[in-house]
Amino acid sequence: MIRLKGLSLKQGRFELKDISAEIAGEYCVVVGPPGAGKTTLLETICGLRIPTAGSIMLDKTEITFLPPGKRGIGYMPQDYALFPHMTVKDNISFGLQYLNYDKAGSEKKVKEISTLLEIDHLLERSSKTLSGGEAQRAAMARALVISPKLLLLDEPICALDEKTRMKMIKILKNIQRQTKIPFLHVCHFYDEMEQLSDKVLIIWEGELVQQGTLKEVKKKPVNGKIREFLCKGTAVCEKD
């Protein structure tokens, strides 16, 4: 379980303001218009930005000021950020080296996760040669292989074609059900939110304006903009 308490961050003109939320082993979708602070929130949770106030608890450990690699959080940024000078296998096993896995243990873990994500045939390929869907799954495998206690996904399927996106929605949901760890998934699309979310966080201008199940937030949206977004069922970015 991840617990954010009064999490704030000031960076230039932008501010994350007093964000408090609790996400247990559920699939949580973070939505909001571009520039609302969704990516900043994920980067703060995984330790790439230091909050100016508040705390982050993961299970029973406070991780607010821990270095990113010591938090036990898997992070998949926008555009996947695979290491282009490595093979898919090296990308996936990268984090295991810092968890003191020996070669055999590392290979076993890589094999398991790549089979789960159906990319075991791509392991020897250079990551530069992958298609969008393949790169997405490789990045997902790299984030999951370290057995994180929380997975952060920043627009993980936004850039994929419709067919691959639908397939990935099923895979993501399935993995979350299997691992039972909280997923925090930033997205722009209503259908993603509808199919994936157990819980929704709505971020607006750096503030967490509403949270709950999709049904709850749809029933009582806190303002007109959110009502419009939730009722129209289209991408937030198209409307703001």
């Binding site: 940024p77 000078h85 984090g95 790299r142």
Partner: protein, 259 residues
């Protein structure tokens, strides 16, 4: 239309290539092989060759050691005065090299220079002084090249590496350095090439004492000044040969993925 486009671009490439080739072909035709061999066998030229190779190699290594972190800092972090620092670091590129030599000489007449002198760091007319004179110019070129390599880099890759367990040093060594490899090799070549060909600052700051501070460019100058054109040409061709072999070897190593 496409044909004219291609012909124009290739034509200009060929023009410049042949200008350089003809220039050195003229040198080669001017001097006989026997004279060339005789000139480069003289002990003073052999000393200059050795000193040039050693000092330029040290300069290239020092330039890389300083430039890699300096270029990274300039690209990665925006801090107060970074634009001013960047501009100052470009000065050795745009200033006449002779100015660096004069400035180095004058520096050793100032208070801080005198303190260095009294602590055994008097580099005027010394071999370490040659490295310093070469370094100040070569490092600026090296830094500029590495900076360009870093500017094209996606630093989110480092961020991801950190979330996977790396600290900043490990992320830099495992992600950024390999991705900037080609730029760094190019920068090393440029630093070495600048260093081995550096004349003005070396002559002003270290003089050109035979069997002491004489490097290849100063040999060319000395030989020319006493009218030994064939000898000066022999050294020039030697310099061209070293440079061409080194450049080709490094390109080959990069192409084969060894570097």
């Amino acid at each position: 239309m496409d044909r004219i486009f291609k012909t124009t671009f290739l034509g200009l490439l060929g023009l410049y290539f042949f200008m350089i080739v003809l220039l050195f072909a003229g040198d080669v035709s001017y001097i006989s092989f026997a004279n060339f061999k005789e000139a480069i066998r003289t002990p003073e030229i052999r000393y200059a060759v050795k000193l040039s190779l050693i000092t330029s190699f040290i300069t290239a290594i020092l330039s890389l050691i300083v430039s890699i972190p300096a270029a990274y800092a300039l690209v990665r972090w925006k801090f107060f005065g970074s634009n001013f620092i960047d501009a100052v670091l470009d000065l050795p590129i745009i200033m006449p090299p002779l100015v660096i030599g004069i400035s180095l000489l004058v520096f050793y007449q100032t208070g801080f220079g005198n303190i260095l002198k009294t602590h055994g760091l008097d580099l005027v007319y010394t071999i370490p002084g040659i490295v310093v004179a070469q370094f100040i110019i070569a490092c600026a070129f090296c830094l500029k090249t590495i900076k360009t390599a870093f500017e094209g880099m996606d630093f989110r890759l480092e961020d991801v590496a950190k979330t996977l367990g790396c600290n900043s040093w490990q992320a830099f060594v495992r992600i950024t350095l390999p991705l900037a490899k080609k730029g760094i090799v190019a920068a090393g070549i440029i630093a070495w090439a600048r260093a081995i060909g550096e004349f003005g600052p070396v002559l002003v700051f270290c003089g050109s004492t035979r069997f002491k501070t004489e490097v290849l460019p100063t040999t060319i100058f000395l030989e020319l000044s006493i009218g030994r054109i064939e000898s000066a040409l022999a050294v020039s061709l030697l310099l061209v040969g070293f440079s061409l072999i080194s450049l080709m070897a490094l390109r080959l190593l990069v192409k084969r993925g060894i570097l």
